[in-house]
């Protein structure tokens, strides 16, 4: 197998220790995925339990308390439209944060790629982050020029309620 050539060591067999040394960083993305699944499932449980309680109230002919309906309402958008929601919440208020972050990463990788020992990998990372920073900068400028501060979107709806 051509792609395995790099990872096969002297004795032609990769032990589990060596495997761990090569792929320890996979812990982080996989951990993130597990957390994501867990968050998704627990949100689903919260929402369905809330529905169940509202149904209990409804079956008894009572009006469900406003707090219960409110739980449903504020979770509604977050649960299945998470990315959208989070994206808006994080970048709508201060789009400059992303510019600063990407810019700092680009500067750091660029410096150590050029003057340090990083080599072409660091230069490549710096280029990527630099492009991201530039794009975010353009977006931030456009947004701060054109978008209304408090517009017609769901977060403001939720905040008002």
């Amino acid at each position: 197998m051509p792609c395995a050539a790099k990872s096969i060591v002297e004795d032609k067999v990769m032990t589990s220790t060596q495997l761990f040394y090569s792929f320890w960083w996979l812990i982080f993305p996989i951990g993130g995925m597990l957390m994501g699944v867990f968050a998704m499932i627990s949100r689903h449980l919260t929402r369905t339990e809330t529905l169940r309680m509202i149904k209990m109230y409804a079956d008894q002919g009572k009006e469900p308390p406003a707090a219960l309906l409110d739980v449903l309402r504020s979770d509604e958008d977050r649960a299945f439209d998470r990315d959208h929601y989070r994206y808006r919440r994080r970048y709508r208020r201060s789009p400059w944060g992303a510019v600063v972050t990407f810019g700092a990463l680009a500067a750091g990788f660029g410096y150590f790629g050029h003057y340090g020992e990083g080599g072409p990998t660091f230069i490549a990372l710096a280029t990527g982050f630099g492009v991201a920073a530039a794009c975010m900068f353009v977006l931030a400028v456009i947004r701060s020029l054109s978008a209304p501060r408090y517009g017609d979107d769901r977060i403001d709806d939720d905040l008002k309620k």
Binding site: I8, P29, T48, A58, G61
Partner: protein
């Protein structure tokens, strides 16, 4: 053999997990909508108005 396969195709974790996520999401959403429809039905069966909080997302 397993180790070699893993070193070749570890990156497949990401697209496969993405698909799994999509499926989990769809299933959970389907279950939730089913429950919500049940609840709305029970409101209707009693001849009451459906609360706005329930109606909110139904057109999406």
């Amino acid at each position: 053999m397993t180790v070699e396969l893993f070193t070749c195709f570890w990156w497949l974790i990401f697209p496969i997990m993405w698909m799994v996520f999509g499926i989990v999401r769809l299933v959970l959403r389907g279950l939730y909508d089913q429950r919500k429809l049940d609840l709305m039905k029970s409101y209707l069966a009693q001849g009451k108005d459906i609360p706005d909080a329930l109606r909110r997302e139904i057109n999406r």
